[in-house]
């Protein structure tokens, strides 16, 4: 398959090492208390790790634009689920109607 991209071993190993380092970062950062920032930081690092796996290990970087749209759509739909559900839970009592 002349058009398929073969990633060099070096790239894979570098990403692997980065993932291990980032896991260490996750742990060390968790030992500190950044207050409300704890979760965003932890999720940010996790997203970075996930991004590396997706782009390099899964090769999304070299896939067609359509495949990338599919992956992003999945993430987006997850955010719809989270967003509109939390839109209920976090707004209870906003409009001053008893019990709602």
């Amino acid at each position: 398959m002349s058009s398929a991209h073969v990633t060099p071993v070096r790239t894979y190993v570098l990403v692997f090492l980065a993932l291990l380092v980032l896991t260490g970062v996750t742990y060390l950062v968790a030992l500190q208390d950044f207050g409300w920032m704890n979760t965003p930081i932890a999720m940010g690092v996790a997203l970075l790790k996930a991004g590396l796996v997706v782009m390099i290990f899964m090769g999304l970087r070299y896939n067609t634009p359509l495949t990338k749209v599919v992956a992003i759509a999945g993430l987006f739909w997850l955010l719809i689920l989270f967003g509109l559900t939390l839109n209920d839970y976090l707004t209870r009592g906003w409009l001053g109607v008893p019990g709602r």
Partner: protein, 538 residues
């Protein structure tokens, strides 16, 4: 273009034998397998409906025990939604037509297509096991904590059955998406595709994005019951409203899984029966996508009275109003297509006209329910029941029947009796309105849904409704006879009995196994009707 001779090697003939059918990879054979299965489940669901309507002839709950009545309406819902409506058009007409309409030899993943049918059967078997082993009395909506803690019926088994069946849906949708993106013939750009393909594509998006959420939700309910894990049980700190959010996140888009394919069928039938390009083709195409996407943003309108925050209710209410717009666009455009078209009144047209009237009523009454103030009074009454039956039965099933009739000659190579078909369409239309219009009135007057008994003053309307159900039953049973009869004794169909455009009408009726003998190259837009086209009517 007329070919009166039955081709000797259609997909129906070769290869022979039961094994050849049960191990087939041919999308057309799989469509027929699905056709038989879902028809069986339509009958099962209809049986449960008969039980309900018989009870409701009298105000007292005197025919069945309350527990049995609960099981009847629950199983009617579960069977009709999961085992008939959701698969119907996609698995039968979609499977048969999508590859042909894309100019391909088969779907992208033929073996996965067959797998989806077996998964459907497995899920159906497990669910039937639940039916025969204590039944299910939670309502098709499985609300917690009754379903996850207290109900004494086979909830876990049913939950597993629904879980399994969901994968059939997912695999079907996956197949369609990849097929439309990667298997279109040369020259077949997106805007030359039939609108049926757009509709099925949009439906597939919904199947992919929504079904997994109900899968995990029923799994959570099953885990709560069987493994004592607590998610939705208030006694253990859980929140029943969370279940409702998760359940409706799928189940609202699910109603679009049920209606979008129907709309796709109507687009095809309207164009063919009017001998005219669909008015506003791209608007209709984009409206399918708009419905699919907006449909994911409105689920909270099922939670207006659940203690959901009013602010969230406002958001969901407004978006629910918006989602009516693309449906209206379609309805206007179909009407505009028929206007000054050369409309022929063969049987498919009768189903189309029935659809347009009934779907409009169903859709408009949805707006009543989307208005929070009105919904407080109408929710959980027969108004809701009437609303969704107008869309699901008056809309989706009429579209399915219309499509089945329109493509029957293509699928079987036989012509059915037009007179019988028209009779059936009239019986269904009359029976349907008689059954469900009184229910709007009943709901408005306050009769709650899922109740076995009701005040005496509601009896007249209930009797009308049950009588209508009897007529409806006749309307649905009739095709079972004349369509089956046509297979054995019907006249041979030419390749294009309706004189319609579309790749499926350029190949034999029934088609050969690999659809096209030569490579397909498309150079014309869809619905390229010309005034001098020859018409052959069976």
């Amino acid at each position: 273009m007329s070919n009166a001779v039955q081709p000797r090697n259609s997909y129906l003939d070769a290869p022979y034998g039961v094994a050849a059918w049960l191990l087939t990879k041919d999308h057309k054979r799989i469509a027929i397998l699905y056709l038989i299965s879902i028809t069986l489940f339509f009958a099962v669901g209809g049986m449960f409906a008969a039980g309900i309507r018989m009870e409701l002839l009298t105000p007292r709950g005197d025919l069945w025990t309350p527990d049995l009545y609960n099981k009847l309406f629950t199983l009617h819902g579960v069977v009709m939604v999961f085992f008939f409506l959701i698969p119907s058009i996609p698995a039968v007409l979609g499977n048969f037509l999508m590859p042909i309409m894309c100019g391909a030899k088969d779907l992208a993943f033929p073996r996965i297509n067959l797998l989806s049918w077996y998964i459907y059967l497995l899920g159906a078997t497990v669910t039937l096991a639940a039916v025969f082993n204590g039944g299910l009395d939670t309502g098709w909506t499985f609300y917690t904590p009754y379903s996850s803690v207290s109900s004494q019926t086979s909830v876990t088994t049913a939950a597993v059955g629904v879980f399994i069946t969901g994968f059939s849906s997912i695999l079907t949708g996956l197949n369609f998406i990849v097929t439309v993106h990667r298997m279109r013939a040369p020259g077949l750009t997106w805007f030359r595709l039939p609108l049926f393909v757009w509709a099925i594509y949009a439906t597939s998006l919904v199947m992919i994005l929504g079904t997994p959420v109900i899968a995990i939700t029923v799994l959570l309910v099953g885990a709560e019951r069987a493994l004592h894990l607590g998610f939705f049980d208030p006694a253990r700190g859980g929140d029943p409203v969370l279940f409702q959010h998760l359940f409706w996140f799928y189940s609202h888009p699910a109603v679009y899984i049920m209606i979008l394919p129907g709309m796709g069928v109507i687009s095809e039938l309207v164009a063919a029966m009017s001998r005219k390009q669909v008015f506003g083709y791209s608007f209709v195409a984009f409206s399918s996508l708009a419905i699919a996407i907006l449909g994911f943003l409105v689920w909270g309108h099922h939670l207006f009275v659940s203690s959901q925050s009013i602010y969230a209710g406002l958001v969901f209410s407004i978006i629910s109003m918006l989602v009516a717009i693309p449906s209206a666009v379609k309805t206007f455009n179909w009407t505009a297509t028929m206007y000054k078209g050369s409309v022929s009144w063969e049987s498919p047209t009768w189903w189309v006209v029935g659809f347009m009237g009934l779907f409009t009523i169903g859709g408009l009454t949805g707006l009543f329910l989307a208005t929070i103030g009105l919904d407080i009074h109408l929710t959980d009454t027969y108004f809701v029941v009437a609303h969704f039956h107008y869309i699901m039965v008056g809309g989706a099933i009429m579209a399915y029947m219309g499509g089945l009739h329109f493509w029957w000659p293509k699928m079987t190579g036989k012509l059915y009796s037009e007179g019988a078909a028209k009779t059936s369409a009239v019986l269904v239309f009359v029976g349907f309105n008689l059954t469900f219009f009184p229910q709007f009135l009943l709901g408005y007057m306050g009769m709650p849904r899922r109740y076995q008994a009701y005040p005496d003053e509601f009896q007249v309307l209930n009797v009308l409704s049950s009588a209508g159900a009897g007529v409806l039953f006749l309307g649905y049973v009739l095709p079972a006879f004349y369509l089956t009869y046509s297979i054995f004794k019907g006249a041979q169909s030419p390749a294009n009995p309706w004189g319609a455009t579309g790749l499926e009408w350029t190949i034999a009726s029934p088609p050969p196994t690999f659809n096209f003998d030569e490579e397909v190259i498309v150079t014309e837009p869809a619905y390229n009707y010309k005034p001098t086209r020859e018409v052959h009517v069976g």
